[in-house]
Symmetry: C2
Subunit: 204 residues, 2 copies
DNA sequence: TGTGCTATCGAACAAATGTACATTAGACCA
DNA sequence: TGGTCTAATGTACATTTGTTCGATAGCACA
């Protein structure tokens, strides 16, 4: 992509970011300092043919640019000695958090309370993503409600019965008795920890 | 908001989701089975006045609806005994992951390798979000490059010099000497752990 | 019954917008 | 010098689109 074509795509992305809708051809011309609409039109046609843009013929403000890869966050694994960290060869992939969370719809974050799952690296204040489900397999970590209390534990079924296992030797396994009110809330799928509290999230 | 008004907003949201740009007034009329454009127009004016929609007068396809709160993931904190988990009263807020990551642009995920930060709840395979910066304060956790190796440690400056501190008694502090090639890569801001490997991420 | 009120419709108009085409300007090269 | 190509221009036109206004139909209520 030439430098000029990139300016087109960038302008469209920024305009949509700022306004929430796409620019018209004349607005693109004005924004890029071009005097004629046909200049813009021919460039848009070219970029659409190359797949860099998409637009519907005849429809006003229908041009869109695919959001760049950085809508996902790059994952850097093993770093080759001597190369800059963010170099292309170090990028192993991207986590497309947007799609990731779209697929996980229905789930929710549970705020972790105590240290009972410390040895699994789950600490107070962590956000644990729970995928709701009614049952859970042996050995999986999940959120449970027992006698009104909600807790995050490992589910374990043995010959001696069912237990909710902490991951911290200072805590004791919780036996699940027939007489207990017990319910599986969901499966522990993901953990999110916000280290800097500057990254606040909007409260309802 | 009445049932009918809700249908308007929902239609606009879905249309934008499907097409990437907003519907025209006539497309809204067709989509909702209305015969006249003025019906739509008056409803849009009403919804805009109420703040449920936003549009620029005269500009084609400029109507947008604020994305509903569920574009973020609900956060559930302390759960009131007896109430269903996902009940409204238990939702403390939302993590708008989309905006969250937009603000963090420039950062990247580093894949954690060993157990040296175990006591901070950072385990192998975790994705650590690094916000690039050239310096770091005493006591903060960050990613560093020392003599070609990249490592995640707590930065500590004492009278005896600078050390990279592990969070695991089986590991030793790494002294940073004048003769070392040393560089701050960035600050540890967030941690993401994918428990289920079914949630794969697209490789480059 | 009749009187407002609201939602909807129908049609017409003006502005915004996409599209097509002939023309010009400049760069490059034989 | 002349030719060719590309980018850009200017203009005109057709379509899409937002806007306006009057008319109609249903509905609640006195």
């Amino acid at each position: 992509m030439t430098e000029k074509q990139k300016r087109f795509v960038d302008f469209i992305l920024r305009f949509r970011e700022d306004n929430g809708y796409s620019p018209s051809i004349r607005e693109i011309a004005a924004g890029l300092g071009l005097a004629s609409t046909s200049t813009v039109k021919s460039m848009l046609d070219k970029l659409t043919a190359k797949g860099e843009l998409s637009m519907i013929s005849g429809k006003a403000r229908s041009v869109t640019a695919p959001e760049p890869a950085c809508s996902g966050v790059p994952v850097i694994g093993h770093i080759r000695a001597g190369s800059p960290v963010m170099a292309e060869e170090n990028i192993e992939g991207y986590i497309p958090v947007r799609e990731f969370l779209k697929n996980s719809s229905g789930g929710f974050f549970l705020v972790v309370d105590g240290y009972s799952m410390k040895d699994k690296g789950i600490l107070p204040g962590d956000f644990v993503f729970i995928q709701p489900q009614k049952t859970i397999s042996n050995g999986q970590i999940g959120a449970f409600r027992i006698n009104g209390e909600v807790t995050l534990k490992t589910f374990r079924r043995t010959d001696d019965g069912v237990f909710l296992m902490p991951a911290n030797e200072e805590f004791r396994p919780i036996p699940v008795l027939e007489s207990d009110e017990f319910e599986v809330i969901g499966r522990y799928v993901m953990l999110l920890r916000l280290v800097e509290k500057g990254y606040d999230f909007r409260l309802a």
